[in-house]
């Protein structure tokens, strides 16, 4: 019930931002369609803690600046490798993840892929490890450092 309310509110805000027409009829219809979409999603069974991880979504702005800085840094690193393809020393490393929820693990894997130079190839939910393909030693080793892991675990709350 709470999930349906949150989802309806989010979808309605999105509709309000995109619509640009604010008359009584259209506002009502917009609300009805947001509610309908939420009900269909609830019937599909995707509106659980995994499908709508509010804890992570609400804390996301805290890491945004740090993430943007990391992305810019590794962008530069990958551009250097592209200009000199011989310097690429690809590696596969397995990164330990300390996240407790599946949504947290997915966020961690997505952050790893989001920073160029590292791509998460396989995620093991049972052993809590992420197999990462790094473009060079530097990227692969940087991924092993617990920095990003801590930030993502911080997103999960307790």
């Amino acid at each position: 019930m709470r999930q349906i309310a949150i989802s309806t509110a989010l979808l309605y805000v999105l509709w309000l931002l995109l619509s640009g027409h604010y008359t009584g009829l259209l506002l009502t219809l917009g609300f009805l369609s947001a509610l309908g979409a939420s009900l269909i999603a609830a019937r599909m069974g995707v509106l659980d803690e995994e499908g709508l991880p509010m804890a992570i979504l609400l804390r996301l702005p805290k890491v945004t600046l740090w993430l943007i800085w990391e992305i810019l840094k590794s962008n530069w690193g990958v551009v250097k490798v592209i200009l000199n393809p011989q310097s690429a020393k690809p590696q596969m490393v397995s990164v330990k993840a300390s996240q407790k929820t599946v949504a947290g693990l997915v966020t961690h894997a997505n952050f790893i892929t989001l920073t160029p130079g590292t791509v998460s190839v396989d995620v093991d939910e049972k052993k809590n490890t992420i197999l990462v393909h790094g473009l060079t030693d530097e990227f692969a080793q940087g991924c092993l450092e617990p920095d990003m892991d801590k930030k993502v675990s911080g997103l999960e709350g307790k």
Binding site: I71, V79, S94, T118
Partner: protein, 115 residues
């Protein structure tokens, strides 16, 4: 007046740097060795290139509805880009293709990097 000129200049610089990033990403897609490495080229297009170009457009956006749409496009690209890349990477791995230059085999590669 001077502030708006400054914002315009930031937008232009951001657009130009973003264009360079996109070209470098596509170049990486063309030049790097195997399919795993080429994914990093796509990563540049999806993050650096798209981010900088959208930021540049954001700086010169005429009104708030445009701003909302730009932020939404950026959000969607950031959410779906890595997911699609991960899906491709996983599909390549399931298909049995091994990355170049990684000497260890599949089992060893999974253990190799652990500290």
């Amino acid at each position: 007046m001077s502030v708006s000129v400054l914002i315009d200049i930031i937008g232009m610089v951001s657009l130009c740097v973003g264009s360079l990033a996109v070209i470098f990403g596509a170049l990486g897609l063309l030049r790097l060795g195997d399919v795993y490495q080429r994914m990093h080229g796509t990563g540049i297009v999806d993050t650096g290139g798209a981010g900088l170009i959208l930021f540049g457009l954001l700086m010169v956006s005429p009104d708030w509805t445009v701003t909302v749409r730009l932020i939404l496009i950026g959000f969607i690209l950031v959410m779906t880009g890595p997911t699609a890349t991960h899906a491709i990477a996983r599909a390549v791995r399931v298909s049995g293709e091994e990355p170049d230059n990684v000497k260890t085999g599949r089992k060893k590669a999974a253990k190799g990097g652990r500290k």
